[in-house]
């Protein structure tokens, strides 16, 4: 079965979405991530969407759900790399991803995660 890989980097999990996801693939990622957070006791999840050319309401909802479920499982989520055209479209669509922390790129996202963990 087709899957989005989840990499472990210390206490963080790293997900780079590089394919145009169909809905089932997005749902599988959501479940896989929850399972990996439990198994690894990860404290942070970084999702890189710099390769995604569109984010529609379904993928937007998946991102919000991941942020919500990881919070409940004691992990922080940071979404990084959103393309400007995608950001403009999402806002116009009516999705502002409340509760999802974002950073411009993976490096900034990592330091945001580290900062948050030190503070908490």
């Amino acid at each position: 079965m087709e899957r989005i890989p989840i990499l472990r980097m210390g206490e963080f999990l790293l997900v780079t979405i590089q394919v145009d996801m169909h809905d089932q693939l997005a749902l599988t990622l959501q479940e896989d991530l929850a399972e990996r957070i439990r198994k690894t006791s990860a404290k942070g999840v970084l999702i890189d969407i710099s390769a995604l050319e569109i984010v529609d309401s379904f993928i937007g909802r998946m991102i919000s759900t991941i942020a919500g479920l990881s919070k409940i499982m004691d992990a922080q989520t940071v979404l990084v790399g959103m393309q400007p055209a995608v950001a403009i479209t999402l806002v116009e669509l009516g999705l502002s991803l409340p509760g999802v922390a974002t950073a411009l790129d993976a490096e900034r996202g990592m330091s945001l995660l580290r900062r948050r963990l030190k503070l908490s």
């Binding site: 809905d23 569109i54 529609d56 379904f58 403009i88 479209t89 669509l93 009516g94 999705l95």
Partner: protein
């Protein structure tokens, strides 16, 4: 069907029946939008709108087709997409077009959101009559 100025240069259609077809529909719309010379932001908006409508066709319409026409009005090119299904149709269109309302488990942004992302939006539907939604974006 919605009338728009200009002439049709190229047309085609494809099935939108299973989830994977939504991805293929996005790819077709990307290819055609590029061909029309759409700017990146407009293209992204149009593909996103198409994605919402294609998903609706699969989930609520029980599958259908996406028809497309490349339009030309003078030197300006545009793209018209029509999503049609023979599903149950929409009884309360006003409600379905409002933000946050959903009959399924979505966010309720599909129809209203898609409308905001395009230049022209037209919907024909009635209970038992299926749904036909036409959208246009000019480059």
């Amino acid at each position: 069907m919605m009338t728009v100025p200009g002439v049709t240069r190229e047309s085609g259609s494809q099935e939108v029946v299973v989830e994977q077809d939504v991805v293929i529909a996005r790819q077709t719309v990307r290819k055609l939008s590029t061909q029309c010379g759409m700017r990146l932001v407009d293209m992204t908006k149009f593909i996103t709108a198409a994605s919402e409508l294609a998903r609706n066709t699969v989930i609520y319409g029980g599958g259908g087709q996406m028809e497309w026409d490349v339009l030309e009005n003078g030197t300006r090119k545009g793209l018209r997409l029509r999503f049609r299904d023979d599903g149950p149709g929409i009884a309360d269109l006003k409600l379905a077009m409002s933000d946050g309302w959903t009959s399924g488990n979505g966010l309720g942004l599909g129809l209203s959101g898609a409308k905001r992302l395009v230049d022209q939006f037209d919907i024909e539907t009635a209970p038992g009559q299926g749904t036909r939604i036409t959208i246009v974006k000019w480059a």
